[in-house]
């Protein structure tokens, strides 16, 4: 054998370079997102920032809002827990609770005593997404703030961060409070220890349908792309005086209220 040290080092160097190149190639090939064999549904409704305009003149009582909450909660298997640990995706509150930045005295009593339909605001700058340590909550390209429950570790940072109280935590097993014979079998439930909230019915938008509450509202809710001047939401914003919840916080909510 006539192996010189120089010879050995050359081979060692080449081998190492080859291994690095091979593994880098492998990583690139396996992560290739562009080649993913998945695409959006044909019926999917596309937007840059989905938004909702709620007419508080029409949805002004608990009786008007309850059917919308019922439709939403039945569709998404949201339990009704008779305690402070209840789960809510869509609920009603007083004007004062909904708009604490709106402190005018001596308002029209009719406006002052309206009930307001509340839900996740799908903020343009969502604080819940910023604080989530596992990226279980994220903002999609269409502006919807939604969750991957598989990743949620139940730390509840998002609940602390959300200034709108739009998030609920499953302190117990939600299935214990669901009517198991009346579940929507097209949609999952959640499990103990995860946070949940409104998703703007992303699973309905992807089959070309409007959100369940907008559909059940009989025209009191305009839903559409806020970046498209011709969308129903923008039309409603053009034609009516609207306010948003807690605008001073700078989260840029995508849910507007016609007063």
């Amino acid at each position: 054998m006539n192996e010189s040290r120089r010879h050995f080092l050359k081979f060692a160097g080449l081998t190492a370079a080859g291994l690095v190149a091979a593994s880098a190639g492998g990583v690139l090939a396996s992560s290739g997102g562009g080649g993913a064999p998945a695409k959006a549904n044909k019926e999917t409704l596309h937007a840059t920032q989905w938004g909702m305009v709620i007419d508080t003149r029409k949805l002004s009582t608990d009786e008007a809002i309850a059917p919308l909450a019922a439709a939403c909660h039945a569709l998404h298997n949201v339990p009704n827990i008779p305690s402070k640990q209840n789960i809510k995706w869509l609920w009603s509150s007083s004007m004062e609770e909904a708009f604490p930045d709106f402190p005018n005295k001596y308002q029209s009593p009719e406006v002052e005593h309206r009930r307001v339909m509340l839900l996740c605001n799908h903020c343009e700058q969502p604080p819940c997404v910023r604080v989530c340590p596992t990226q279980a909550t994220y903002k999609r390209a269409d502006g919807i703030v939604t969750m991957d429950y598989h990743r949620c570790i139940g730390c509840r940072y998002c609940m602390a961060a959300c200034p709108f109280g739009a998030r609920s935590f499953n302190f117990g097993e939600p299935r214990e409070y669901l009517d198991l014979t009346k579940l929507n079998k097209e949609y999952p439930t959640r499990m103990r220890g995860v946070v949940e909230k409104c998703t703007f019915c992303v699973e309905r938008l992807e089959v070309g349908k409007q959100p369940a509450c907008a559909e059940a509202s009989g025209g009191a809710i305009a839903f559409g792309d806020l970046s498209d001047p011709e969308s129903p939401a923008r039309k409603a914003l053009r034609e009516n005086y609207t306010i948003r919840r807690k605008p001073s916080l700078g989260t840029e909510p995508s849910v507007y209220y016609i007063i």
């Binding site: 993913a36 064999p37 998945a38 695409k39 959006a40 549904n41 044909k42 999917t44 298997n77 994220y138 999609r140 390209a141 269409d142 939604t146 991957d148 429950y149 598989h150 299935r175 198991l180 014979t181 579940l183 079998k185 097209e186 949609y187 999952p188 439930t189 959640r190 499990m191 992303v202 992807e206």
Partner: protein, 129 residues
């Protein structure tokens, strides 16, 4: 050559070998391992990918399905033959494999794995209290 404490060492060795080989002689008389018989869908003969692929890769596929559907908004899967399927565990997989106990559980129990799919997803048999 003299073996010091030979008695204890040999006894110890015998006990040790006995314990180490316990699984071998304990199972010597029992039946050979047989693969679990899963119940395949009666109506549908073809899965979204080949049987071999699904056997080996269904967990990775489901992980990718989840991320495509939830994060990227892509809910149509194009398989290796170009056929399209809706990305959904409850509404695609379990529409054909309509019996979790006879399909999923058979192998998972056999292999002692307990995936947490059904903590949230609803099996086709429905839920019971």
């Amino acid at each position: 050559m003299k073996l010091y404490n030979g008695g204890s060492i040999l006894t110890g060795l015998v006990i040790f070998l006995g314990l180490v080989t316990f699984p071998l002689w304990f199972n010597a008389g029992s039946k050979a391992y047989s693969q679990p018989e899963v119940k395949l869908p009666a109506k549908e003969k073809e899965c979204i990918e080949s049987k071999e692929f699904m056997r080996k890769e269904h967990m990775q596929l489901l992980n990718e399905w989840r991320d495509w559907a939830l994060r990227e908004g892509k809910r149509t899967f194009v398989n290796s033959k170009g056929k399209e399927y809706t990305i959904s565990l409850q509404n695609t997989c379990m529409k054909c494999h309509d019996n979790k106990a006879e399909f999923c559980d058979k192998c998972h129990n056999d292999q002692a794995v307990s995936p947490y799919c059904w903590d949230c997803h609803i099996q086709p048999e429905g839920l019971k209290k």
